[in-house]
């Protein structure tokens, strides 16, 4: 294991064959234990202070890629309460003290919470090499636009006028069985759904159009979500998740402030 102190040292270490970045390790370490990954070198990002912490300027919240969920829950509470609430309900307190926003986004678990916030906020994922719009970042289950040895250094959120995240938790894993993040901006409403689709996080276009026309819980009542392509497992059928998408969207609109 390498433990660089700077981003430059981390990038150099990651350029080696078989090297893998390690964020907070709350997904990667269990994955290694199951022998689902076997990198030759782990490059721990936890000692790199320059990618930690949250700052606010001109209605934009910038969160360092190495910021833990617990730190986002604290530091974004005033600037972006819906994001802070989401961060404060990932996993459990001990997991939140280690897991990071950059690690969660790079992994893009189809049931992770952060992808919903990033996509619904139209956030910008900043890496060592470039800036990636949220709409171009998520590329299906466990897949993103990130290249090999590319590190998420920050995520920039345009803070919406109103927003909320409604999570239906799967109580054993503490992931979202279905979670919906709704963000209302001056000119549009964005709705992102996690935990439901086999393709990972997605935007629900019909709900966005209805909520842009009228931002009220009842606006989604006449809509329906097709079960096709939804995740089916012992925790819920595709039909159940499709139903939850609508219910959780409604709840998020009700909670949005």
């Amino acid at each position: 294991m390498e433990r660089p102190k700077t981003l430059a040292e981390a990038l150099e270490a990651l350029s080696r064959d078989g090297a893998q970045a390690l964020g907070g390790g709350q997904t990667l370490i269990p994955t290694l234990k199951q022998r689902l990954a076997a990198p030759s070198v782990l490059v721990s990002l936890s000692g790199i202070d320059e990618i930690k912490g949250a700052t606010v300027a001109d209605g934009t919240l910038a969160v360092g890629g190495g910021t833990t969920h617990a730190a986002v829950a604290r530091e974004a509470a005033k600037a972006y309460p819906a994001l802070a609430w989401l961060a404060g309900h990932i996993g459990d307190p001990a997991v939140r003290n280690r897991g990071t926003i950059g690690g969660s986004l790079a992994n893009n678990d189809p049931s992770a919470c952060y992808p919903a916030a990033v996509l619904a906020s139209g956030a910008t994922v900043v890496t060592n090499a470039r800036e990636i719009a949220a709409d171009a970042f998520f590329d299906g289950m466990f897949t993103t636009a990130l290249e090999e040895a590319e590190i998420i250094t920050a995520v920039r959120f345009q803070v919406p006028e109103r927003a909320a995240y409604a999570k239906f938790p799967q109580p054993a894993s503490r992931f979202a069985l279905t979670g919906v993040f709704v963000a209302k901006y001056a000119d549009e409403v964005r709705v992102a759904v996690t935990g439901a689709s086999e393709d990972g996080v997605f935007r629900w276009a019909e709900a966005e159009a209805a909520l842009t026309a009228r931002f009220a819980p009842g606006s989604v009542d006449g809509l329906s979500v097709a079960a096709r392509g939804m995740i089916g497992d012992l925790h819920g059928t595709p039909e159940y998740r499709a139903h939850l998408v609508k219910v959780m969207t409604r709840r998020a609109v009700e909670a949005a402030d």
Binding site: Q26, I29, L42, D92, P93, R98
Partner: protein
């Protein structure tokens, strides 16, 4: 193998570890501090919770080498200097907050982290904070009582059923 150095319960601790050595393995097998338990080894159960630079973490899901230079506190560091039980530990005994005791080290460490953040938590806050700590004996009620008592609150009204 690589050398790792940290402070554990206020004392310097170091040892040779592999890259894959987990913090909990270093504590138990390297330092002989077997109070920290391994329950599930999948970061679900919370029996292995310790404090890393003041924050509760699951020691089964942190690499030892990632703790270089860190301050670690384990259940062995929770007793009073004279060896008697610390206030949270004593409250667990007084309120029957344990039966088999396997989850107790993690429960006590999570409780200590909660009370450091929130000195007078409500019953709901205690239960929410313990989401990542699983107990298969007590049904949690007496654990919640013990933590409320350790915070100096009256537990007669709380968690009665």
């Amino acid at each position: 193998m690589a050398m790792v150095c940290m402070t554990v319960n206020g004392n310097p601790a170091s040892g040779e570890v592999e890259g894959r050595t987990l913090l909990v393995e270093f504590l138990r097998e390297g330092l002989g501090l077997t109070g920290t338990h391994v329950g599930c080894d999948t970061s679900q159960c919370g029996a292995c919770v310790v404090h890393l630079d003041g924050a509760a973490v699951k020691a089964c899901t942190v690499f030892a080498l990632d703790c270089e230079g860190a301050e670690v506190r384990t259940i062995e560091g929770m007793a009073n200097p004279d060896g008697t039980l610390g206030p949270i530990q004593q409250a667990f005994q007084d309120h029957h907050g344990l039966q088999c005791g396997f989850c107790t080290p993690g429960m006590v460490m999570s409780a200590a982290a909660l009370l450091a953040e929130t000195p007078k938590p409500s019953e709901a806050e205690v239960r929410t904070y313990l989401e990542g700590n699983i107990c298969r004996c007590t049904g949690y009620h007496n654990i919640v009582k013990a933590i409320l008592a350790a915070s100096g609150q009256d537990v007669a009204a709380a968690a009665a059923e």
